[in-house]
Amino acid sequence: MTGFMTLLRKEVLRFWKVVVQTVAAPVLTAVLYLLVFSQALSAHVQVFPGVDYISFLIPGLVMMSVLQNAFANASSSLVQSKVTGNLVFVLLPPLSPLEIFGAYVLAAVVRGLLVGLGVFVVTALIAPPLFHSPLWILAFGLLGAAILGTMGLIGGIWAEKFDQIAMFQNFLIMPATFLAGVFYSVHSLPPFWLAVSHLNPFFYMVDGFRYGFFGQSDVSPVTSLLIVSLTLIGVAAVALRMLQTGWRMRH
């Protein structure tokens, strides 16, 4: 247990020591999105009845920040350790695959939720939020962060260089989060793209998260919870398997 706690603490300290870059900067980015998009679009769009666009947008932006930062934390930490060679400090001690998995993913969850909280607090000053059911908010926030932390771990295990992880982030994570209905309701899409959106697990994370705020969503939150939980189990199984076999870590 101490080994796990130490690795978790180290991973949290790692981003906390550069908190301006790892937490403050993504909060600023999200707030800029909110200001620009709400200025440009709020007059034209009403997604849910009784919910103005800026209020609709806030949970999406919070979730997007949670997801992207959870991914960034695990992946960049791991790739950085690989490139600089200090990953040996984690590989030499008697840490089990489960401990390594748990520590990296939980640290990613902490960073994701911290950034999400930051975005939420700042945006709440701009548009006072609704809290339909906070437990759903918490559940989807946690699960989404854990999934992306796990995907960051997988990406970090796979990648051997920074540009490989950037590719993973730019061609997979970014499109998947952007197309998850952060800025719009998928029901405004043509049928084909609506169907495609339903194949994207990120959509259920955002949709379920948003349900927690408004009590309204594109699909039932129970369905979303199920799909999101299954996604987490799936990616966690892949990550654990990778750690157990030592793929790209213990040659």
């Binding site: 101490t2 080994g3 706690m5 130490t6 690795l7 603490r9 180290k10 300290l13 790692r14 020591k17 550069v18 350790s81 600089t84 060679g85 200090n86 040996v88 400090f89 984690v90 590989l91 030499l92 001690p93 008697p94 840490l95 089990s96 030592g246 213990r250 040659h251």
Partner: protein, 310 residues
């Protein structure tokens, strides 16, 4: 059974028929080796011989393609927690975590091994490696030599019974070498098993009780250092000759080409041969105007073994 030493204790490290392939490259081809507890053991070989591969496998950083590896009786695969707890490794590469200070680094490493309140021992290590003054310095701010000391310290935080040092003195100044060997020597006297790879053969000869030489992934020599050096006995005699050229009977002993100034280097298998050499020279009418002798050392043995084994 091969899994206990003569003293009835499990070997510190036991390798059986260990092979390692990277694609088509065979880095290790059936290495079997037993290192007893309390030994100061040298692992020598040219670059690419497989030393670092072997250490990586012992440390669990790499996995053997076949064969078994045990540290203090614990299989590095099935019983990896106990095996890794028993082992401290100083890696060859100068790696560090730029986010932390020296003390933070050592506390984190202690934590990985399940140790919470380790500051007394950390202080002792810092003291012995002359790092106390740098305890609160960030790793980034340290010189190469200081970073190397921290790597040694990290390998020792959990007081492992077996300590592996992979070229710890490469590019390191005299002061650190002396500091390091003093401390490592003390640990060895206290019962820790030390395994060392180095390119400095004098260092290996002075420190190691037993030596294995690796070439192209195979053990080509394994013996007590004294016996290894003694096995080739003799040495080299440097002469300055006047008069006729070197007699044909002595040509096979010649090291390199004879020089025009009459200086030659002759190899002797045993010092008892010296008298015979001098007699041949005398009979040929050569006069010896200068004579110097040099005993065989580990470097000579190493070079001979490496050129013989193929």
């Amino acid at each position: 059974m091969s899994d206990t030493s003569p003293a009835g204790r499990v070997p510190a490290i036991e390798l059986q028929e260990v092979t390692k392939r990277y694609g088509r490259l065979e880095a290790l081809r059936g290495v079997s080796l037993k290192i007893d507890q309390g030994e100061f053991f040298g692992l020598l070989g040219p670059n690419g011989a497989g030393k670092t591969s072997l250490i990586a496998i012992i440390a669990g950083l790499n996995r053997a393609s076949s064969g078994s590896v045990r540290v203090m009786g614990h299989d590095v695969g099935n019983d990896y927690r106990a095996a890794r707890r028993a082992l401290g490794v100083v890696p060859q590469e100068l790696v560090f975590d730029p986010f932390f200070t020296v003390r933070e680094t050592l506390r984190i490493t202690s934590g990985y091994y399940g140790l919470r309140h380790n500051d007394d021992w950390i202080d002792e290590i810092l003291e012995n490696l002359q790092l106390t003054g740098k305890a609160d310095a960030n790793m980034r701010a340290l010189s190469g030599g200081m970073k190397r000391r921290v790597l040694v310290a990290q390998a020792l935080v959990h007081r492992p019974p077996v300590i592996v040092l992979d070229e710890p003195t490469a590019g390191v100044d005299v002061e650190l070498r002396q500091t390091l060997w003093k401390f490592i020597g003390r640990l060895n006297r206290e019962g820790h098993t030390i395994v060392l790879t180095t390119h400095y053969l004098e260092e290996a000869q002075a420190l190691c009780g037993r030596i294995a030489m690796l070439k192209a992934g195979q053990v080509v020599a394994l013996d007590h250092t004294a016996r290894l050096v003694g096995q080739f006995g003799g040495g080299t005699v440097r002469l300055k000759l006047e008069g006729p050229p070197l007699p044909a009977a002595l040509q096979p002993r010649l090291h390199g080409a004879p020089r025009t100034d009459g200086r030659v280097e002759l190899h002797l298998e045993d010092w008892s041969e010296l008298e015979g050499v001098l007699r041949i020279l005398r009979e040929a009418g050569c006069t010896v105007s200068e004579l110097e002798t040099e005993h065989t050392d580990l470097e000579d043995v190493f070079l001979r073994i490496m050129s013989e084994a193929s």
